[in-house]
């Protein structure tokens, strides 16, 4: 059986090359993400650093670990998804060949082992190449991480010998996992299908497709309902994970149910596609729903993940911006290196709140173990802060925020059980001390999560930000001119918008790091799927030409079909992404009380046009090359 697998591999290499390519790139991506993750997790923090610097460096590495875990998860998901859909598709393309084997005496088990054998060969070939390709990919990935400040300067991942074993293992595993479902389906192919021309039209919506589709949809629906968390606010970092929790199962479910969407999309397009070519394109689309769905799958995963991650992060950012705008009760902001006491006496100033970020650690001890968690807090003067911010503590009083006391905005787990009067151990500026919880702040998107009295801030804290509320009737421009002597002055809106712009840039960078490589991978997979789909259609195209279509019409037909397929992918992808963004919006609503949804339209339009262009161009090229031979030779040809 392995010989047959080898032979069929050697002979159909054009189709298999596509499968090898997907495994190769998938392996390279997973390997590189894994090595970068290991490097970030084991990165040493030099002893000679000051406590704050060491803490900041460790924080940077921890951030990189979190991000790289997501990169790894996305890469692994995308690789399995793409490889599975490519393999399932190649099996569907070979129904007749497999039926013939059954007719010549192959048992179901033998058909299965043939396909699994092929998968092992493809997996080995692909992952061997992927192991080598993984090195430049890893370099590119660490460069991107450093370039966008997600890893400290000098961060380097190195190649480790065990990576070969892991990569070969993953590559083969991914390929075999991908082929398992397809091989079960292939084993059910009945021998007499070899006897009929065009017996490829098997039942498309199989039981397992229904089962996988409905289970995934149900899973996503349950998560979606649970997302607002029964009225309890969820931590913001968790809300940012909605794309993983909601969109990923939806992508799997939608791709299983995609053949159902094909006639739907065809119906929609019937309004636009006119003439004989359009009609033919749509009937081709409908008659091979499986092919249409398989080509749409990578478009869907590309669009769904980008739109979901981008939309969710943008929605969180926008909710934070609006919250900040509502919270700040002042007109001007002055940024300076140190706290400027003189601002309070400047002309037109009613009240000023000086505040600075402080990095500190909470110490925990539980059942014999003890550990530290790093957090950012805001050092403030409580009276001034209360006068310039619309914040109502849920419990306690901001006025008690003096001496060894803090105010907390509980976001998750343990913190939710904290009460006013509890004591916490903190390590600040290298010293450990006990602080009392003076007030509990309401949950918030933009923070701060901790308020500390100014007296707790260690020497050298800064830079400082001064929120200024002016006297009634004072001229903001004149006041700003006076205040310019203390530092750089902006209006509160400008400042919030600047923070939001910073946030947007961060979102964009995060997406580049998270998705850049994976998206490149799906684009290649899209091209791949179009090429594989066209490889089986030479005779079909020839038959169309013998019936009287000109070569140009056949090419136009293929092009129209490809655009319809892109549309299906985009629609399903948008659906999967919308669920995630709306889920995030529902969860944010619990925190802020208002509904905010942000969509990155330019990005999504660009992506949609790009996908249409890539698929369109590929289908033009493949259709031109498939129609190069005079049609009558192909129609007459057998085998």
């Amino acid at each position: 059986m392995l010989l047959l697998a080898w032979n069929s591999f050697r002979d159909r290499w054009q189709v298999f090359a596509g499968a090898v390519l997907t495994v190769c790139l998938g392996t390279a991506l997973v390997q590189s993400s894994l090595l970068a993750l290991v490097a970030a997790a084991t990165a040493p923090v030099p002893d000679h650093l000051a406590p704050e610097d060491a803490l900041a460096l460790q924080g940077a590495y921890d951030g990189a670990v979190t991000l790289l875990s997501m990169v790894l998860a996305l890469a692994a998901f995308t690789a399995v998804f793409i490889v599975a859909s490519t393999f399932g598709f190649t099996v569907a393309q070979r129904r007749r060949e497999l039926a013939l084997l059954r007719l010549t005496g192959a048992s179901r088990g033998q058909v299965r082992s043939l396909l699994v054998g092929e998968a092992v060969l493809l997996g080995l070939a692909g992952s061997a190449l992927g192991t080598v390709l993984g090195l430049p990919v890893m370099r590119a990935q660490t460069w991107i991480l450093e370039r966008f400040d997600f890893a400290p300067t000098g961060f380097a991942a190195e190649w480790r010998p065990w990576a070969v074993a892991v990569s070969l293992g993953t590559g083969v595993l991914i390929a075999v996992l991908g082929v398992l479902a397809a091989s079960r389906r292939a084993a059910r192919i009945r021998p007499q299908e070899a006897l009929r021309e065009g017996a490829g039209a098997a039942q498309v919506m199989t039981f397992s497709r229904w089962a996988i589709g409905l289970v995934c949809l149900a899973g996503a629906a349950v998560l979606y309902v649970l997302f607002p968390g029964g009225g309890a606010p969820l931590p913001v970092w968790f809300i940012q994970l909605t794309p993983f929790l909601v969109t990923v199962p939806l992508v799997v479910g939608c791709s299983a149910l995609a053949p159902l969407a094909v006639p739907l999309a065809a119906g929609l397009l019937a309004l636009v596609f006119r003439g004989v070519t359009g009609e033919l394109a749509l009937s081709n689309l409908r008659s091979d729903a499986r092919r249409s769905a398989a080509t749409a799958a990578p478009v869907m995963v590309l669009f769904a993940l980008t739109a979901a991650i981008g939309g969710t992060l943008a929605t969180v950012g926008e909710a934070g911006r609006q919250e900040s705008l509502r919270t700040v009760d002042g007109e001007l902001l002055v940024a300076a290196d140190g706290p400027e006491a003189g601002i309070a006496d400047a002309e037109g100033v009613a009240v000023v709140s000086a505040q600075a970020e402080v990095l500190f650690e909470l110490a925990f001890a539980e059942s014999g173990a003890s550990w530290y968690e790093a957090h950012y807090g805001l050092a403030v003067d409580p009276a001034a802060y209360a006068a310039t911010h619309r914040v109502e503590p849920v419990a306690g009083d901001l006025a008690d925020l003096a001496g060894n006391a803090v105010a907390v905005s509980p976001a998750e787990g343990r913190e939710r059980e904290w009460k006013v009067g509890d004591t916490l151990r903190v390590r600040l500026g290298g010293e450990e001390s006990e602080v009392r919880i003076a007030a509990i702040l309401p949950p918030s998107v933009a923070g701060p999560e901790y308020l500390l009295p100014i007296g707790l801030a260690p020497e050298g804290t800064g830079p400082w930000e001064h929120v200024v509320r002016l006297d009634e009737g004072a001229d903001p421009a004149a006041a700003a001119a006076h205040l310019a002597a203390f530092g750089s002055v902006t209006t509160a809106e400008e400042s919030v918008d600047a923070a939001a712009a910073e946030d947007e840039r961060f979102t964009r960078d995060t997406m580049i790091v998270l998705l850049g490589m994976t998206m490149l991978y799906t684009v290649i997979a899209i091209v791949n799927a179009v090429v594989i789909a066209a490889s089986n259609r030479r005779r079909e195209f020839a038959a169309a030409r013998v019936t009287g279509l000109a070569r140009g019409q056949v090419v136009a037909l293929a092009f129209l079909e490809s655009q319809a397929v892109v549309l299906i992918g985009l629609l399903l992808g948008a659906l999967a992404a919308a669920a995630s963004v709306l889920g995030a919006a529902a969860a944010l609503r619990v925190i802020t009380g208002t509904t905010v949804v942000a969509v990155q339209w330019p990005l999504l339009f660009g992506l949609a046009l790009g996908a249409a262009a890539v698929v369109g161009a590929t289908s033009l090229v493949t259709a031109l090359s498939a129609t190069r031979t005079p049609p009558i030779r192909l129609v007459a040809a057998r085998e």
Binding site: L101, R102, A106, P191, L195
Partner: protein, 244 residues
């Protein structure tokens, strides 16, 4: 060689497609035995049920009523594994489209059924069969390097290599020109005469039917006539009468 009187017997076989008003009786109570060592041609107009007869006799399709016996065993309710075993050892197939595996050489195609059955193919056996179909010098060629007639002879060699009790042929000359068709019918004739190969063939080609020992005529799922050793002209006339 099998000594069974009739390797394939159909008793009261009925095959209905669809349900209710849309039901079609492709076979309607067919009783027929195919004697060992004989070559039977099955003819009839399109839709007469001749392909269904072949598929039911070969265990590719389940019958709605009646029984099918192959080499003495009742296969009416056989499991997939039993049918697979049957295809490996007792049955050979040849088709209108030759259905060779494009990636394998002639020799490898012929050896395939033996390998699938888990037997180590004896090179001499494989070559002997290829020699018998006159393609000893083409054994290393791939299907696309062979003419249609040559491909069909490889397909027959593949069907013969397991020394099956029955050879089923579905329009074996349907895709061939007259000369190649004549060579293939001559080959099948010699298989019957020299090896005593029981052969059941569905065909549209009166010349091919005339090479067989007897010809059955099907119409609307029933056997309506049979001719022993007819001439091409007699077959054509009978068929024309049926199609009127």
């Amino acid at each position: 060689m099998h000594t069974t009187e009739s390797p394939v017997e159909l008793a009261g076989v009925t095959r209905v497609y669809g349900k209710g008003d849309a039901a079609v009786r492709a076979l309607d109570g067919v009783d027929i035995a195919f004697p060992a060592g004989s070559w039977t041609a099955v003819m009839g107009p399109s839709g007469s049920g001749k392909s269904t007869l072949l598929h039911c006799a070969a265990g590719l399709e389940r019958v709605t009523a009646g029984t099918v016996r192959v080499v003495g065993g009742d296969i009416t309710n056989a499991t997939d594994a039993e049918l697979t075993r049957l295809r490996r050892t007792e049955i050979g197939f040849a088709f209108q489209t030759f259905n060779l595996i494009a990636s394998l050489t002639a020799e490898q195609n012929v050896a395939m059924p033996l390998r699938l059955a888990g037997r180590r193919p004896d090179r001499r056996d494989v070559r002997a069969v290829l020699d018998a179909v006159g393609l000893a010098d083409r054994r290393r060629h791939r299907p696309r390097e062979l003419s249609g007639g040559q491909q069909q002879r490889v397909a027959i060699a593949r069907a013969m290599v397991t020394r099956p009790a029955v050879l089923f042929a579905d329009e074996p000359t349907g895709a061939l020109d007259t000369k190649a068709a004549r060579a293939v019918t001559a080959l099948m004739r010699s298989m019957v005469d020299e090896r005593g190969q029981t052969t059941i063939m569905v065909t549209h080609d009166p010349a091919a039917a005339a090479a067989a020992d007897r010809t059955l005529f099907l119409c609307d799922g029933r056997i309506v006539d049979r001719l022993e050793r007819p001439t091409t002209r007699e077959v054509a006339a009978r068929l024309a009468a049926l199609e009127d």
